[in-house]
Symmetry: C2
Subunit: 218 residues, 2 copies
DNA sequence: CGACGCCACTTAACAATGTTAAGGAGATTT
DNA sequence: AAATCTCCTTAACATTGTTAAGTGGCGTCG
């Protein structure tokens, strides 16, 4: 018998399902009707739990952030360099875990305080290492901006598709042809669109080194 | 008499008008019908000049980039530090010049070669200064990623509105209340959302310093 | 026990959007 | 003069976020 009554939804379950669906259809395919169907519900039902679609996206971003934190208990024995590296690697990994993850994440603001403990711990570590609070804030934001910017470009160039497959969006041969007459720019093509992991590590190392140099805590 | 025949459109004029309109209505309000009305034309006419809306957005991004370049003739006597600073300051200024500028810019890929000469000149300057090509590419992308990421956050926090007015999207008092129990994080609020110009300069200085440190060309 | 009321949803509908199909007026070419 | 090309219009379509109104189940209170 179908007298089984589906348990009522809540914000968490909706965001959960939406995140799972995001990886199949991408941000542009993530319609309220599709999410609702996945939950065995009609679209307007979502408005009982969320004020509008943006509120749902905010919840999704918060959930992404929560999952990122659970993967990485901060080690109090970290040096500030290690902490910055870990935090930003973790952020990138979390964003890459979802199709259009960076776009979703950067378009939303946190509503809760789930991020507060980690932020507090990081600021504490940096100030204990000799940074002023202002320096610690600047350092964190600089590294954070780099990571977000990098992943936005990365996901724009190599979108993750439904089947987990990665497809390049740039035709290197055609680019090289257009760049004839600009030898360095042409040669840069192969470097620009290959080995994002290495490029990210390189950039992150640059940022951390710069923080040490500029704030004299290296 | 209205026998005056309007000159036919072209991609450039459409992108021009769309960019002007962008500052009045924002990316979400930038519909094809609104752009068409501004051009005294019906919406489907745009499809004669552009394959789809994304193609128009690409053209807009290219135009933004072109305007950025005309403002800044690269000085061959620049040191690599000066060049990186100028290029990324210019990029930020260009992005801030349009409502949702960073979102428009980061969502698109260049189709032309307008950016090639400047890229070539920058790579030349860096390699002449002792960088390998790979290092020059990495350095440029790191700085670039930082700038894009920074401005995306900046414009997300302080959206530019139609009348050129800037409205804050964060209630600092409410944030401080939520952050009770996390003193450093709470105190960081005022630092995080104030004086973006200074924060950007600070971050850019960090990146440039890091490039010098890591690639031994400082 | 029955009426009330709240929760969590459904059905129906709306205006707006990107996009396509078909056609048409005017200039240009043959 | 006929045909073709350019650039645009009118009409329509499916899809989207969102709102309004209604409805069935469940607990509470008289």
């Amino acid at each position: 018998m179908s007298t089984e009554r589906r348990a009522p939804l809540d914000r968490h379950r909706v965001a959960d399902t939406a995140l799972r669906l995001l990886n199949e259809v991408g941000l542009d395919g993530l319609t309220l009707r599709a999410i609702a169907k996945e939950l065995d519900v009609k679209a307007p039902a979502l408005y009982w739990h969320f004020k509008d679609k943006q509120a749902l996206l905010d919840e999704m971003a918060s959930e992404m952030y929560r999952r990122m934190l659970t993967g990485t208990e901060p080690d109090p024995a970290d040096t500030w360099q290690e902490r910055l590296l870990k935090a930003n690697r973790g952020l990138r990994t979390a964003l890459l875990g979802y199709r259009d993850g960076a776009r979703v994440f950067s378009g939303t603001r946190f509503t809760g305080i789930d991020h507060a403990p980690a932020l507090e711990a990081n600021l504490r570590l940096l100030t204990d290492a000799g940074f002023t609070l202002a320096q610690a804030v600047d350092a964190g934001r600089t590294a954070n901006s780099f990571t977000i910017g990098f992943v936005i470009e990365e996901q724009g160039m190599r979108p993750l598709h439904g089947d987990g497959e990665v497809r390049e969006r740039v035709d290197l041969g055609e680019r090289a042809r257009r760049m004839a007459g600009f030898p360095l720019a042409a040669a840069a093509g192969e470097l620009l669109f290959d080995d994002y992991d290495r490029q990210f590590e390189e950039g992150l190392a640059v940022v951390v080194a710069g923080i040490g140099t500029r704030y004299g805590t290296g």
